[in-house]
């Protein structure tokens, strides 16, 4: 009896102790103590987050994780990846299972507030589109009345879809399956007339996932983009210092592109006379200290991950199989929306 009681007491004390430690409120301290960033990514969309044949994660979202690790540790490899479905991701972030979510998550008011998160920027300005089989002869999303639509659950996509059909006084039947592979399989088997998700993911699926003997050319993406989907990294509300680091890691990649700093010329750029470049690369100190990081934080990001343009081209742009146009994701100087506040 006494033994049992002691055990219970110890168990209770341990629980309280463990909970107390987790509440220290310093995400950054925990990450540093652990020696690795835990990053929640998607379960597999080519170009954004996909493990390659060696099991190494690659993609635009993955590069954000690597940039944050490079800023904190000076080593972009110090990341543990946790693949999460659309439904698992928020609980995983809320509960502290991951430090950072970089998972094609759309920035919305509810998620920024009621879910207890902070969005730290936009890695990709996207919008929701529709893909159909060419044989249906559909030219516009306005012709989709009565269609059966494949959609992933727990996404803004699911809500936009319902809104769009309501607004246009059309009917549809959803087929909702959680795993990305399963929902695509159902679509390609003809269970649905339409597959809807972010236009970038549609492009990726069309290139990478159409099962033989069907071909990418058998499917078309309809011209309508029915929503705004600003996709970006998400952190828990609370540790602003960590939030700032994630924010400015992405901004650093954009600033570097704007000032022509890339992974190949970054070492020469260290000798640049331009005061802005000197400040960005930490030759003139101060920026790293303000964030609580090493002064070479931007240097490490650019050297190991590259600037935003390099990452875009390598993963989803002209150097990848997806060949997605930069479109609105061009820098503001080139007529796009990507605009980073100055590092000063």
């Amino acid at each position: 009896m006494f033994n049992k009681l002691t055990a219970a007491g110890i168990a209770a004390a341990t629980l309280i102790g463990a909970a107390g430690a987790a509440h220290a409120g310093k995400e950054l301290d925990a990450i540093k103590a652990r020696g690795a960033l835990i990053c929640g990514v998607g379960t597999g969309t080519a170009g954004f987050n996909l493990a390659d044949s060696q099991g190494k994660w690659r993609g635009l979202n993955v590069d954000v994780c690597r940039a944050v690790a490079a800023a904190i540790f000076g080593d972009a490899e110090k990341v543990k990846y946790v693949p999460l479905t659309a439904q698992q991701r928020f609980t995983a972030l809320q509960s502290g299972e991951v430090d950072l979510l970089s998972n094609n998550t759309t920035w919305t008011l509810t998620r920024d507030t009621a879910l207890g998160f902070d969005f730290t920027g936009v890695t990709y300005y996207d919008g929701q589109g529709f893909m159909v089989n060419k044989k249906l002869g559909v030219k516009s999303a306005k012709e989709l009345n009565g269609a059966t639509v494949c959609v992933a659950p727990g996404t803004t996509t699911e809500l936009n879809l319902a809104d769009y059909f309501r607004a246009n006084k059309m009917q549809f039947k959803p087929v909702v399956i959680e795993k990305a592979d399963e929902i695509r399989a159902a679509f390609f088997a003809g269970r649905c007339d339409v597959y809807t998700t972010d236009a970038s993911a549609l492009a990726a699926v069309r290139v990478a996932n159409v099962p033989a003997p069907q071909k990418a050319e058998d499917y078309i993406v309809l011209p309508e983009i029915i929503s705004k989907e600003p996709l970006g990294p998400v952190v828990r509300h609370g540790d602003n210092q960590f939030g700032d680091i994630v924010t400015w890691s992405l901004f650093a990649m954009l600033e570097a592109e704007e000032y022509g700093i890339d992974s190949k010329n970054v070492d020469q750029m260290l000798k640049s006379d331009n005061p802005t470049i000197k400040r960005i690369l930490g030759v003139t100190p101060g920026m790293g200290k303000a964030l609580g990081l090493d002064e070479k934080w931007v240097y490490n990001i650019i050297k190991q991950v590259g600037n935003y343009g390099e990452s875009f081209d390598r993963n989803i742009g002209k150097d990848s199989i997806l060949k997605i146009d930069r479109g609105v994701n061009k820098l503001w100087t080139k007529g796009g929306l990507q605009y980073a506040p100055p590092i000063r």
Binding site: G146, P153, L159, R166, F172, P174, V175, I177, E182, A186
Partner: protein, 396 residues
């Protein structure tokens, strides 16, 4: 108190910490206190954490607009409905598949169990293979298989297989068939059906009593079916036999009109029934084998046919062994129906998962799921316990 009752031997005065009664009470109070403190700590800690992370809490969201569409609903639902309604749709979908699954797997399983005991070598072997095949592969794989079979094997809606003079259509969108147009008389037909069933039960009791008293049998089963079905048909005829039908027809992408059994529902139901009936078969077989061989020999000596012996002598006695483990199988069907999420049938878990994702309130929603399954499962248990008591052997 029990201690008082032992009063015949005078109690020895001891110091309180050596008194087993006092010590027992102290320990119990301490344990209850610790458990209470732990519970209080966990709850308050959670509330505190949610508040600190600015995560919304409470059940207010249930009244808000859900905003998502559900593909298979038994009641009126649109994206403009509330979260509460969406969850209710999910509960009804879970109940639909669970109730049908329980009924069908009981029937199929009973036949398989009896079949396995058949002296016919082929029949008993087929039943054995069936049982071993189905219960040794995880249910999830069966669900994937049936779903893939339906969505891959059947043609698209424009090439649908049409039978019965173009009134029934089978495609990868499901099985479409005509239904009568909604008519106010249907409500009264349902009432008549209930009255008919009640009448059939009373008639069956009367027939049983008469047979016990006079030995004269009465075809109470066929008469009962006649009464139960005759009542609503009589009401329908009395109302002038309204017979306008809603016919399915290809319009645009899909069929419109009629009604549909969707592939997700079919795959889930077929999977649950085929899988669970293998377990039911074994339970039925064990129940029958638990009876003494003398029972079937005695039934044969009385001149009962094999069917009569099974129905009148063996099964009623075997039920005592069969019912308690059947309760577990019924609970399993109900809980296994949550695997629906893998193949996209919109059950309770699916509705709640989407709700969790849109509102971020995981704790409240998980509590709702648990409450819903607990209610259903405890109801099944309570009913089965009542039934078990009713059929248990009464010793006189």
């Amino acid at each position: 108190m029990a201690v008082e009752a032992l009063g015949s031997t005078p109690r020895v005065r001891v110091v309180p910490w050596n008194d087993p009664v006092v010590r027992g009470w102290v320990f119990q109070i301490v344990v209850v206190g610790l458990v209470g403190a732990l519970a209080w700590y966990l709850v308050s800690n959670t509330m505190d954490n949610l508040a600190r992370q600015k995560i919304a809490s409470g059940f207010d969201y249930l009244g808000r607009e859900a905003g998502f569409e559900i593909g298979d609903t038994m009641i009126e639902y649109s994206p403009a409905s509330t979260y509460a309604r969406a969850i209710w749709v999910g509960i009804l979908n879970t109940l639909r598949v669970a109730v049908l699954g329980i009924i069908l797997s009981t029937i199929l399983g009973t036949f398989l169990g009896i079949g396995r005991l058949s002296p016919n070598w082929l029949l008993s072997k087929i039943c054995e293979w069936y049982v071993e095949g189905f219960r040794n592969v995880p249910l999830l794989l069966w669900l994937f298989l049936f779903y893939k079979l339906i969505s891959e094997a059947f043609p698209g809606p424009r090439q649908a297989i049409s039978t019965l003079w173009g009134s029934v259509f089978l495609s990868n969108r499901g099985l479409y068939f005509p239904v009568p147009m909604a008519d106010p008389i249907h409500k009264w037909m349902a009432v008549a059906l209930l009255v008919g069933i009640l009448g059939a039960i009373m008639q069956h009791r009367w027939a049983k009593k008469r047979q016990e008293a006079t030995g004269q049998p009465f075809p109470s089963i066929s008469a009962g079916i006649g009464v139960a079905l005759g009542m609503p048909i009589a009401v329908w005829l009395a109302a002038g036999a309204p017979s306008s039908m809603s016919w399915p027809a290809l319009k645009g992408f899909n069929f419109e009109g009629g009604t549909v059994i969707q592939p997700e529902f079919t795959a889930l139901l077929v999977g649950l029934v085929l899988y669970t009936s293998a377990f039911v078969a074994e339970i039925v077989r064990s129940g029958i084998l638990a009876l003494h061989k003398g029972q079937s020999e005695a039934a044969a000596a009385l001149g009962l046919s094999r069917g009569q012996a099974m129905r009148l002598v063996l099964l009623p006695q075997a039920l005592r062994v069969i019912v308690p483990p059947m309760t577990s199988q019924f609970l399993n069907i109900t809980k296994n129906s949550s695997l629906a999420i893998a193949i996209g049938y919109p059950d309770l878990v699916a509705s709640i998962n989407v709700t969790i994702n849109q509102t971020g309130q995981a704790i409240e929603n998980v509590l709702l799921i648990m409450a819903a399954y607990l209610t259903v499962s405890l109801s099944i248990s309570a009913f089965m316990n009542w039934y078990n008591k009713r059929i248990s052997l009464r010793e006189r």
